[in-house]
């Protein structure tokens, strides 16, 4: 098995799918000549040429719409948002066209498209560039939403997303592009809609995704030092959500924390909580807690940004709280 960075796993997934299927193309700002703002498309222009690796001007609504229109014609676009923060200006295209065209045409047209790019905060980019977009997209029927945290998951799930006949929102992280991990040399895919237990444990279930995964794993390490065995579930797919895996775990641990990189109000975190309290009510020994961004726009200053973020220490405090040990 090769050791790859997440950015390379993403690049390889796109490359393999582009080799496999001529209908697949990549479009976005700086994806071609610049090799991607975060180098996730390194070498693809050279390999596939400007017909299939297309630099756009800064018109997120325009090129999202072009992707949707091309998908309706049978092509399979991958649309890169330089970051998902910039998808706010394309929100209508995703919510009203990508998500609804199959439905509103009664199945005459489909929109097999992937929107991908880094999501949520990076480091000291300020309030407009530090936002998580899963609460908006996961809310909408007609979309699938994925968030990845390892090279293995990134490659396997991106390949599935590209092959999927539905519109898929694929969330990466700027801060995690260099994270390394094993990736099989042979071809593989990971089914959309399956969570992954990243660490087993029996005392507390921590449900997480995306940037929350490494924080949760460190939380589990800290907890282990205090004799607490945390089970870390990486949802991987946020919509549709693999709630069975979560419930099975909670029925074992009887306690849960949801740890994620987004503001608290509503969103995916609350969906997890609502489902757990509904489906495992009699098994819960404590309320489900969330550990996430503070409910503030991101400040630029380093010291303030650190305070806003969820950390392993805060995760541990939440874990202890649901154990009534703190």
């Amino acid at each position: 098995m090769a050791i790859l960075q997440i950015r390379q796993a993403i690049r390889d997934a796109m490359k393999e799918e582009m080799l496999r299927d001529e209908r697949v193309f990549l479009m976005g700002e700086e994806v071609g000549h610049y090799n991607g703002a975060y180098k996730a498309s390194e070498g693809l222009l050279e390999q596939f040429g400007p017909k299939r690796v297309i630099d756009t001007p800064i018109v997120e609504t325009g090129f999202s719409g072009v992707g949707i229109g091309a998908a309706m014609c049978g092509l399979r676009p991958i649309i890169e948002f330089m970051t998902f923060n910039f998808s706010a200006v394309a929100f209508d295209q995703i919510m009203n066209n990508a998500a609804k065209i199959r439905h509103m045409t009664n199945g005459q047209f489909g929109v097999p498209i992937v929107f991908r790019g880094p999501n949520a905060a990076a480091h000291m980019l300020g309030s407009t560039h530090s936002q998580a977009f899963e609460p908006y997209y996961a809310h909408i029927p007609g979309l699938k939403v994925i968030a990845v945290a390892t090279p293995y998951d990134a490659k396997g799930l991106l390949k599935s997303a590209i092959r999927d006949d539905n519109p898929v929102i694929f969330l990466e992280s700027e801060l995690m592009y260099s994270v390394k991990g094993e990736v099989p040399d042979e071809e593989y895919t990971i089914p959309i809609g399956k969570a992954d237990i990243k660490r087993e444990g029996k005392h507390v279930t921590v449900v997480t995704w995306g940037q929350g995964v490494p924080v949760s794993l460190k939380t589990a390490e800290l907890a282990a030092k205090e004799g607490i065995e945390v089970e870390v579930i990486d949802l991987r797919t946020l919509r549709p959500m693999d709630i069975e895996t979560v419930i099975t775990s909670v029925k074992k641990t009887n306690r849960a924390v949801v740890l994620f990189h987004d503001w608290p109000y509503g969103g995916v975190g609350c969906e997890v909580i609502a489902q757990i309290q509904e489906l495992a009510f009699d098994h819960l020994d404590a309320p489900v807690l969330r550990e996430c961004y503070e409910d503030v726009p991101f400040p630029y200053a380093d010291n303030l940004e650190q305070l806003v973020l969820p950390t392993p220490e805060k995760g541990l405090a939440a874990v202890k709280k649901v154990l009534y040990r703190g």
Binding site: T61, G62, S64, I68, Q93, M104, T105, N106, G107, N166
Partner: protein
């Protein structure tokens, strides 16, 4: 239209001149094609009043020549993308009037299974690629169809229609920008019917001539009053040819008029009777009818017989729609995601 005065005379002469180069068959064909749309929509308005149709119903009455001309200007592989004022395109392109009426009634046999209603007519088999209800958000999508044509080499041209009220919104600008940079095989058509809802052009446009924007995108442009199918077809056709042969996008402004309110809930109090009457003189359907009378001797009886045939077809469509069953309850879960 009854009093004969000096204007009336010159109107007739002008009409004769305008139609003299067309064959009787062609004029008759255009007349019937427009009439079918008009009768269909008049029936829709009645059905709406009787509560058989709900939601928003935007009628195309006055603009029919554009849809008919479009159908004549394109080839079978081409695509027509419209906003929400779409019944005319569907009928002109060959959609089954029964399926159209059933869609308005929210029935399973509707064009899109009763799921979309008036604003979301789609009929892929008849080149109708929408039916979009958010102003301007179909323009990038249509640019995407044209992009796909260039990608696959399918030789198709995409024609995308929007109202005068849509030209200020961002997605229109972005779609046009991309079509301009990438030289896509596309024709942008503004159906300038003088109003966006209750708002006249003067409060919507910074300058009167919408085609003044073409230069900024590197487009060709054309701008004219729609008074007959033939001229409209030829001028749309020239743009289609540029798109197909040279990947040269065109911005067309077609000056027209809607005789009804914006939708069924709009009594259109914001305009004067005189204004409406002036435009009636230019109504392509009315003009074509008069051409049949003046140039080809169609009398009242002949015209009434034609009308009767059209009305019979329309009535049958609405009867079908009325009797057709609603969608099955399970239909609400269909076509959201596939493959599950």
């Amino acid at each position: 239209m009854t009093a004969a005065g000096p204007t009336e005379v010159s109107y007739e002469d002008q009409l004769k001149a305008a139609f003299k180069d067309q064959s009787k068959d062609d004029i008759l064909r255009d007349y019937l094609a427009m009439l079918r749309i008009r009768r269909f929509e008049e029936a829709a308005a009645r059905a709406y009043t009787r509560g058989k149709i709900s939601g928003f119903l935007h009628l195309y009455i006055g603009q029919e020549a554009i849809a008919v001309a479009t159908q004549q200007a394109i080839q079978p592989q081409d695509r027509v993308v419209s906003a929400y004022r779409t019944h005319g395109f569907a009928l002109a392109l060959g959609s089954d009037p029964k399926a159209c009426a059933a869609e308005l009634f929210g029935k399973a046999a509707g064009l899109v299974g009763g799921i979309g209603g008036s604003m979301h007519f789609f009929d892929k088999a008849h080149q109708l690629w929408g039916g979009y209800a958010i102003i301007g958000n179909h323009i990038p999508v249509a640019a995407g169809h044209a992009f796909a044509s260039k990608y696959t080499g399918d030789g198709a041209v995409t024609l995308v229609f929007m109202g005068d009220g849509a030209v200020g919104i961002g997605p229109v600008h972005e779609g046009m920008t991309l079509a301009g940079i990438w030289k896509l095989p596309i024709v942008f058509v503004v159906e300038n019917n003088q109003y966006s809802m209750g708002t006249p052009l003067s409060r919507t446009l910074p300058v009167e001539d919408i085609t003044s924007r073409a230069a900024g995108y590197g487009f060709k442009s054309d701008r004219f009053h729609v008074t007959s199918v033939a001229e409209t077809r030829d001028r749309i056709g020239a743009a289609v040819k540029r798109a197909r042969e040279d990947n040269q996008p065109t911005l067309l402004e077609l000056i027209t008029y809607r005789f009804r309110g914006h939708s069924m809930s709009d009594p259109a109090k914001y305009r004067q009777k005189e204004e409406v009457e002036t435009w009636r003189m230019q109504d392509p359907l009315e003009r074509t009818l008069r051409a049949l009378q003046l140039l080809h001797g169609f009398d009242e009886a002949a015209l009434e017989q034609l009308d009767g045939e059209v009305i019979a077809e329309v009535d049958a469509a609405y009867e079908f729609a009325d009797k057709a069953p609603p969608p099955l309850p399970e239909a609400r879960f269909a076509n959201i995601l596939v493959g599950e």
